[in-house]
């Protein structure tokens, strides 16, 4: 017991151990989501050398820097278009975007809806901590109405995005929402998302203990982890119009969307070969024989 020397945590080979400890606060849930992601990588049949991780900027944006795969820490909001270029240039890659709610749905919202519309073959893992944590807990496009934030000191009067509803409307192939404490379900959804041949989104409601929890008097990381879990109700296949999150209200979680639709490359190949015939060489066909 306690013999650190003899044994290693089985996910260590997936982490840049030379950079651990990470920067996240004690009790922050991001690390737990990373553990769930690492579990998904362990269980996945996809060759690890062919998986790339792209993050934007933020506390969550730091994930790319800790995952020992080809990993890109880009600019605020631009992880999805960066990933789009990466995927299109090298279609044999499985590209995972791992970033925060502000990054993906605030500054990067436009890219999100277009990547979903195109059914770009990307797996997006969004840590929703209901605020811009890295910069000190400002109000975000996901902050529930009435919640407090450093730039909404009198409470937020705007209506937040419902991420799954947005993803569904924009055309995503796979949409799920969990809380960070749904460890194995998060892992499973990430696996399913990665296996999906199109755009998948996994929203993970995650405690930001230092900022969101403190400002809203929601206790420590442990309290918040539990709180979100207790407020959650699993409803697979729920109508995405019913997934709004209110301050201290119920959190509907589950797998909401899982559908088949040609992804960008497949649609392009199909269309171009119909129109151009022999003038067109199928793009990105991986020779598996």
């Amino acid at each position: 017991m306690n013999d650190e020397a003899r044994q290693k945590n089985p996910i260590e080979h997936l982490l840049r151990m030379d950079r651990i400890p990470h920067i996240w606060c004690p009790g922050c849930g991001i690390g737990t989501v990373v553990t769930s992601f690492a579990e998904a990588l362990r269980k996945s049949n996809i060759e690890l050398d062919k998986i790339a991780v792209v993050s934007g900027i933020g506390c969550t944006g730091r994930v790319a820097g800790y995952i020992k795969l080809d990993s890109f820490h880009t600019t605020h909001g631009r992880a999805i278009p960066f990933a789009t270029g990466l995927k299109l240039a090298n279609p044999e890659l499985k590209v995972v975007v791992f970033s925060g709610d502000g990054d993906i749905f605030g500054i990067g919202g436009n890219h999100f809806i277009h990547a979903a519309r195109r059914n770009m073959d990307l797996t997006v893992i969004c840590v929703n901590n209901f605020n811009y944590a890295m910069t000190g807990g400002q109000v975000a496009a996901t902050t529930p109405t009435d919640a407090n934030a450093s730039t909404a000191p009198y409470g937020n009067f705007e209506q937040p995005f419902s991420i799954p509803y947005l993803a569904d409307a924009a055309g995503a192939s796979y949409v799920a929402r969990w809380t960070a404490l749904h460890l194995r379900r998060v892992t499973k959804s990430i696996q399913e998302g990665m296996d999906k041949n199109g755009f998948s989104l996994i929203e993970v409601i995650t405690p930001c203990v230092t900022l969101y929890a403190r400002r809203n008097r929601l206790g420590d990381g442990l309290n918040l982890l539990k709180y979100y879990y207790d407020k959650s109700e699993i409803k697979h296949g729920a109508d995405t119009r019913d997934l709004d999150i209110s301050y201290q209200g119920k959190l509907i979680v589950g797998k909401f969307i899982d559908r088949e639709r040609p992804n960008f490359i497949d649609a392009m190949n199909q269309h171009m070969s119909t129109v151009l015939g022999d003038d067109y060489e199928l793009y990105g066909r991986i020779n598996n024989d």
Partner: protein
Amino acid sequence: MNQKIYFGELKATKGEIHIIRDRCKGCGFCVEYCPKDVLALSDEFNIKGYHPPFVENEDNCVYCQLCENICPEFAIFVTKKEEEDVEKG
């Protein structure tokens, strides 16, 4: 195919818990969510000044790996314990 026939007493899988004390930030997630109350936070400080968990009663551990999967610091994990001659018969 891979069936094993146990003649003696059937034993539940047991875990051996490994804690990388100096990597822990004392969040208490593992302690709280261990279904078998195997863990407790110690009074001692680790190198970073946090209270890491210690194993209070390892015999209760059922190798569910929840502690391992919940830890945001990659600081705790469990290995399957060698089972003592289960196949007695």
